[in-house]
């Protein structure tokens, strides 16, 4: 549906990208471990963050013991083919998400910061890890980062415990006061990545037209400052910076359209798949394409927002997720919630599969990309932000060692892990939010 001009059979329609872009498996199956041994200390090229809402059933998430991964627990079962590419980390926490709530779970997941308790536009959080990474490795790509989600309908009037909806909706913040809205519509995401598609020449001409429009905007913004106070004039200057940023992106896109390894003709996806899983897989496909075309190197993806009342009848769960997550220790409800958790994980497994089978230089996209999958809540029944479900995957060529369960003896800030991943993309900072160290265990050889 994105690439080919040939008709696709209906059964493969929704898998369009997967079916048409993946190269034969043999080409892609470069054994990551071998390559990693050869070049142990390279930086990671890309970072991906996948957010799972409202925690999970920890008893069905945690592997029975620490060390090498044996049989995977029920929620993680779908990751079995990629056991050698994942590490389960437990006993990580988000201290700054307290007092516990859904808004702060989402807000703290990538910022590890305390959200200012307000419903109004004086919201204040912290710059999120993905955005620090984007500043470092995103400057050369068309989009510094890509923010994606799955919820097409906005929440109104229901934001959590007196927190502005921005906290609950936005995972990524480019500054403590700038939440970055995410996009859930596949066609819109496609158009941001590739414009309206078409041939290379058409894509470049379209970019030039955008650039000339933006030139005008920049000229006219200055006029806006007349008669404004100092603070508002500063704001207009920020707008101008925003416009310049978009211009830079377009210039980069123009340069890259000329020479990247994407197929020459790209066709847009049209609608939104009706089934959640199809929609999610399409969003993952787009992420693979964005990385494959080097259009961006940092992606965040919210599988559903906190307090989502989405039901999953396709896996036999017709209860809305949020009330189910406040299960009151009812075993039946926990079991149904765990089905949702496992469903989300299985979609992540699909993403790993796609990345692993897409070649990239001397390895696969997965070898060159580190991924963090997890939630800002541990036990959702009580809005708990300790013992978070967290998985790190990929990045083998950056020296990440996988295939095990690491449990911290003491509750350890999730920020340590953020800091470690930021290290790997070259962000040089001594600490991040409430970090008190680094998760260097990720690099120690498996035999320990």
């Amino acid at each position: 549906m994105i690439i080919t001009k040939k008709a696709l059979p209906r059964r493969t329609f929704l898998r369009g990208l997967g079916a048409t872009l993946a190269l034969p498996l043999l080409d892609a199956m470069i054994p990551a471990a071998t390559a990693a041994v050869l070049t142990p200390a390279r930086p990671v090229r890309r970072l991906g963050y996948v957010f799972m809402p409202m925690g999970c059933d920890q008893t069905r998430w945690l592997p029975g013991r620490t060390g090498p991964l044996g049989d995977l627990p029920p929620i993680l079962e779908s990751l079995a083919p990629h056991k050698d590419q994942i590490t389960v980390l437990s006993n990580l926490e988000l201290r700054n998400a307290y007092p516990g709530s859904h808004a702060t779970s989402n807000a703290a997941f990538l910022s590890a910061a305390k959200a200012k308790h307000t419903e109004s536009s004086d919201y204040y959080l912290g710059t999120t890890a993905d955005q620090l990474a984007a500043k470092q490795i995103g400057s050369e790509t068309q989009l510094p980062s890509l923010e994606l989600s799955m919820d097409m309908l906005q929440t109104t009037g229901q934001c959590d415990n007196g927190y502005a909806c921005v906290y609950q909706n936005n995972l990524s913040w480019s500054s403590p006061t700038t939440p970055l809205p995410s996009e859930a519509h596949p066609r819109v995401v496609f158009e941001r990545l590739f414009g309206e598609g078409g041939s290379r020449a058409e894509r470049q001409a379209a970019l030039r037209r955008r650039a000339s429009l933006l030139d005008l905007v920049a000229d006219d913004l200055a006029g806006l400052k007349l008669g404004l106070g100092a603070a508002d004039r500063t704001r207009v200057s920020e707008y101008l910076e925003t416009v310049r940023e978009v211009e830079r992106r377009i210039q980069r896109a123009e340069a890259e359209t000329a020479a990247n390894n994407l197929p020459p003709d790209l066709e847009r996806p049209l609608g939104v798949p009706a089934l959640y899983a199809d929609h999610a897989r399409l969003m993952f496909d787009l992420q693979v394409l964005a990385w494959q075309g080097d259009i961006t190197r940092v992606i965040t993806f919210q599988l559903a927002r906190e307090t989502s009342n989405r039901t999953y009848p396709e896996i036999g769960v017709s209860d809305p997720h949020h009330p189910l997550s406040h299960h009151g220790n009812d075993p039946d409800k926990i079991a149904r919630m765990a089905k949702i958790n496992a469903h989300h994980v299985s979609l992540f497994a699909y993403f790993l599969d796609r990345l692993r089978h897409t070649p990239d230089g001397d390895g696969s996209l997965l070898d060159h990309s580190a991924l963090l999958y997890g939630s800002g809540i541990g036990n959702p029944n009580v809005h708990d932000h300790t013992d978070l479900p967290i998985i790190v995957a990929g990045g083998g060529l950056g020296g990440l060692k996988h295939g095990r369960h690491i449990r911290y003896e003491q509750a350890t800030p999730l920020a340590n892990l953020h800091l470690t991943l930021l290290d790997k993309v070259g962000v040089q900072i001594d600490s991040f939010a409430d970090s008190n160290g680094r998760a260097n265990e990720l690099f120690t050889p498996l035999s320990v």
């Binding site: 536009s121 109104t156 229901q158 939440p179 809205p181 925003t242």
Partner: protein
């Protein structure tokens, strides 16, 4: 705080004069009252309260509105002292609220603090969509073009000062698309749009707007870009085995363009090969369509069968493929692809409108002069002010580029896109008067006032008449302003107050996302969802259009029903898909009427499987009474140690958490409000039994009043009509001004309510009071 001198102030002074009511000064001993009724809890050392009333200056409460407006609100609503503590008698309550009101109002009149709406406010998604409609005559779905706006204070037009690169990027893309829709000049590769019917739509009845004798399908208002050929293809709904649902005998499918038949097909069940993949493959038709807005429809002729005439109970919708497969085929999606072999932009309403100024030009005018003539009225409307020559520079530059590339039309298209990305269009700007000191109170300009009015009542740009009035400097004259408001309210665009303002205020937008449990509510399909929304929209619109009292929103004895909804409500003799007004005026035991009896609100305040008296109670406290309960504590203790049988009535289950002191202090206030609506189930049906237990709908309000059922609740809510009217004004205030209500705004809001009391709180009186108020007309420099 001081007034600037030397600036014209005729109207704002007039506003000030009304603030000072000629009432007798009230005297009261606030200190003694606080000491007797408040300080037990609200002292500085007490842990249970964040509000200390100890050691304040009780002689001049007007100087401290942050504290005393809060106290006044609690006393006005009889929320404090709590019902189980010793409370003042009604006379003391009235005396003290009268005193505080007078003191606070007097202080506000002496030192007006009209507040400050942000200087830079971006058009939000709805405003952008409406503005494009009013500027260019093009209907767009902005949700596909722009990201959603973050709501704050309950509305999505409050937090709109930011501009991220993503958003800027999207505005650029949107401008190009809109300009292309309006002019249709740029050549493009055939594109596609796919329209899906929501899976829960039952397609057994006539779709509203399609010809009688048809059933199901969908109607697509669509703007065709150019004259040319378009391919329309249709797929039918399949079940989980990938078979076309309900296809047991040959079925006919029709494509309609503007209600005329475009093509007709027959779909046959597969032969022995069971090849379901191919049965609807031939539902493709290529047609020549003229550019512009058309209505494409795909539907089925209604088969003459007695089956659907029989009454079956319960009514079972066909949407649930897992349990109730459809009996007849249904449309899954329609894709429109094109234009193939395009033959130019054609003659569309938007082009006629855009090019109209050319008629006034001398023959032989050159391209630049023609483009200039086209742009002049567009720029004025888009920038909401008289144009100056500099405004033409950018658009004309793009015009010349486009003109050179591919001729006049493409030039105009590029110029239109330049207007649509201009910050003068995208931002509403309110400027500070030159040289004003910080904290100066000043009147906004007439043009700014025109924009405030238009964005409040229409969520769109001002029209010519409003701009002309502002340019003439007449808009501030109270009688002119009032006339303009009445004119604007009578305009179709005022429907925005229903679909935008009320939909957000009442949480109607959340209806799209609710998913009642399919097993418990087997008849909840998308037809019902849309009927529920339509009922409330038509109902609110009736209050707006007939200029009724806002109290009718609660107390009305009529509503709007179609057959689907009437069946849901158990009301007979309402036949057909058309909505009509149904009165229950003579029915003392009526079940339907005002908002609190409407399925839409009762559903959005419920869980998927059951009602939630907590959410319903909070909804009423927030949106009807204007006294939102505090947010729950972050470490909500679980209910698990008292897991009670799910078969017990919800009241019994909630009793468990009201036993916990940590929960009880708030839930004792919230829950009883919601209990009064227990006569309505989680999808708004009337009931007398809940899980085989008789419904107990006894409830109460935080002021201590007790009653039974929705009728009692309505009576109690309207016992003091000024409280509900005040809430409506506050909600209108947030929406109109794009900012939250502060304690400093309370005197102005009280005044609006007082002024509208003689007209029995007509909606127009509230709106006129609001636009005449200081916060709407004045502003403070930063």
């Amino acid at each position: 705080m001081r007034f600037r001198s030397g600036v014209q102030f005729p109207l704002s002074m007039a506003v000030l004069a009304v603030v000072m009511p000629g009432r007798e000064p009230v005297r009261a001993d606030l200190g003694a009252f606080v000491d007797e009724h408040c300080l037990d809890c609200h002292d500085s050392g007490h842990s249970r309260s964040d509000l200390s009333l100890e050691g304040l200056d009780y002689s001049r409460p007007g100087t401290n509105p942050e504290v005393w407006e809060r106290v006044l609100r609690k006393l006005e609503h009889r929320l404090m002292p709590p019902v189980d503590k010793s409370r003042p008698d009604e006379g003391s309550y009235r005396h003290m609220t009268g005193y505080l009101t007078a003191e606070l109002d007097r202080a506000a009149a002496a030192h007006p603090q009209p507040g400050r709406t942000d200087a830079l406010r971006r058009l939000n998604r709805t405003e952008y969509q409406n503005a494009v409609r009013d500027l260019l005559g093009v209907e767009i779905d902005a949700t596909t073009l722009l990201p959603q706006d973050e709501p704050a204070h309950g509305f999505d037009n409050v937090m709109i000062g930011n501009l991220s690169p993503t958003l800027m990027d999207r505005y650029v893309g949107a401008a190009q698309k809109v300009a292309r829709l309006a002019v249709g000049a740029s050549a493009l590769a055939p594109g596609g749009d796919t329209f899906r019917v929501r899976p829960e739509v039952t397609q057994e009845q006539q779709v509203d707007g399609l010809p009688p004798g048809t059933r199901g399908g969908l109607r697509i208002p669509y703007q065709f870009l150019q004259d040319g050929e378009y391919e329309i293809s249709v797929r039918l709904v399949r079940d989980r085995n990938e078979m076309v649902e309900g296809l047991r005998q040959p079925a006919r499918v029709e494509f309609l363009l503007d209600r005329d038949r475009l093509a007709e097909f027959t779909v046959q069940p597969p032969g022995d090969d069971k090849n379901w993949e191919e049965v609807d493959r031939h539902l493709v038709h290529r047609a020549t369509v003229a550019a512009g807005p058309h209505e494409l429809a795909v539907t089925f002729p209604q088969a003459p069968t007695a089956l659907f005439e029989t009454v079956r109970e319960p009514y079972v919708s066909r949407f649930n493929i897992f349990r109730h497969p459809r009996t007849v085929p249904a449309v899954y999606q329609v894709t429109i692809t094109g234009p193939f072999s395009p033959r130019g932009p054609g003659d569309t309403p938007s082009r006629r409108r855009l090019f109209a100024p050319l008629a006034g030009l001398k023959p032989g005018a050159n391209d630049d002069a023609r483009a200039h003539a086209i742009l002049a009225p567009l720029l004025r409307s888009a920038y909401r002010r008289p144009v100056v020559e500099a405004d033409f520079r950018g658009p004309m530059q793009l015009f010349r580029e486009g003109c050179a590339e591919q001729g006049f039309d493409l030039g105009v298209e590029r110029a239109v896109s330049a207007v649509l990305v201009n910050p003068q269009f995208l931002f509403r700007v309110e400027r500070e008067p030159a040289g004003a000191a910080p904290g100066t109170v000043h009147a906004i300009t007439d043009l700014e006032l025109a924009s405030r009015l238009a964005f409040f009542l229409w969520s769109s740009v001002p029209d010519d008449e409003l701009l002309d009035t502002a340019v003439r400097g007449e808009l501030r004259r109270p009688e002119v302003l009032e006339r303009q408001v009445h004119r604007m309210l009578a305009d179709d665009r005022a429907r925005n107050l229903v679909t935008n303002f009320a939909a957000q205020w009442l949480h109607l937008r959340a209806l799209e996302a609710v998913k009642p449990d399919e097993r418990l509510f087997i008849d909840f399909d998308d037809n019902l969802r849309s009927a529920l929304r339509t009922e409330t929209e038509l109902f609110v619109a009736s209050v707006l259009e007939e200029d009724r009292s806002v109290l009718d929103l609660i107390s009305a004895d009529y509503t709007y029903l179609n057959e689907r909804l009437a069946r849901h409500y158990g009301i007979s003799h309402v036949i057909g898909s058309r909505f009509r007004r149904v009165s229950f005026a003579d029915d003392p035991a009526r079940q339907r009427g005002g908002l609190l009896r409407q399925g839409s609100l009762l559903t959005v305040t419920s869980y998927a499987t059951r009602t939630s008296p907590v959410i319903r109670g909070k909804w009423i406290l927030d949106n009807v009474l204007g006294t939102p309960p505090p947010p729950p504590p972050p470490d909500v203790p679980a209910l698990d140690d008292k897991v009670v049988s799910a078969s017990l009535p919800i009241r019994a289950r909630l009793a468990a958490h009201r036993d916990k002191p940590a929960c009880a202090s708030c839930h004792n206030v919230i829950d009883p409000v919601g209990f009064a609506l227990e006569q309505f189930d989680a999808v708004g049906r009337y009931r007398t039994l809940e899980n085989f237990h008789p419904v107990d709908a006894s409830g109460g309000l935080p002021d201590g009043s007790k009653f039974d059922g929705v009728a009692g609740l309505e009576t109690a809510l309207l016992a003091r009509p000024e409280l509900f009217a005040g809430t409506v004004v506050e909600k209108l205030f947030v929406f109109a001004l794009g900012r939250g209500v502060t304690p400093q705004d309370a005197p102005a809001i009280r005044q609006i309510v007082r002024q509208s009391a003689p007209s029995h709180y007509r909606l127009s009186a509230l709106i006129i009071g609001l636009v005449q108020s200081q916060p709407f007309q004045l502003r403070t420099t930063p």
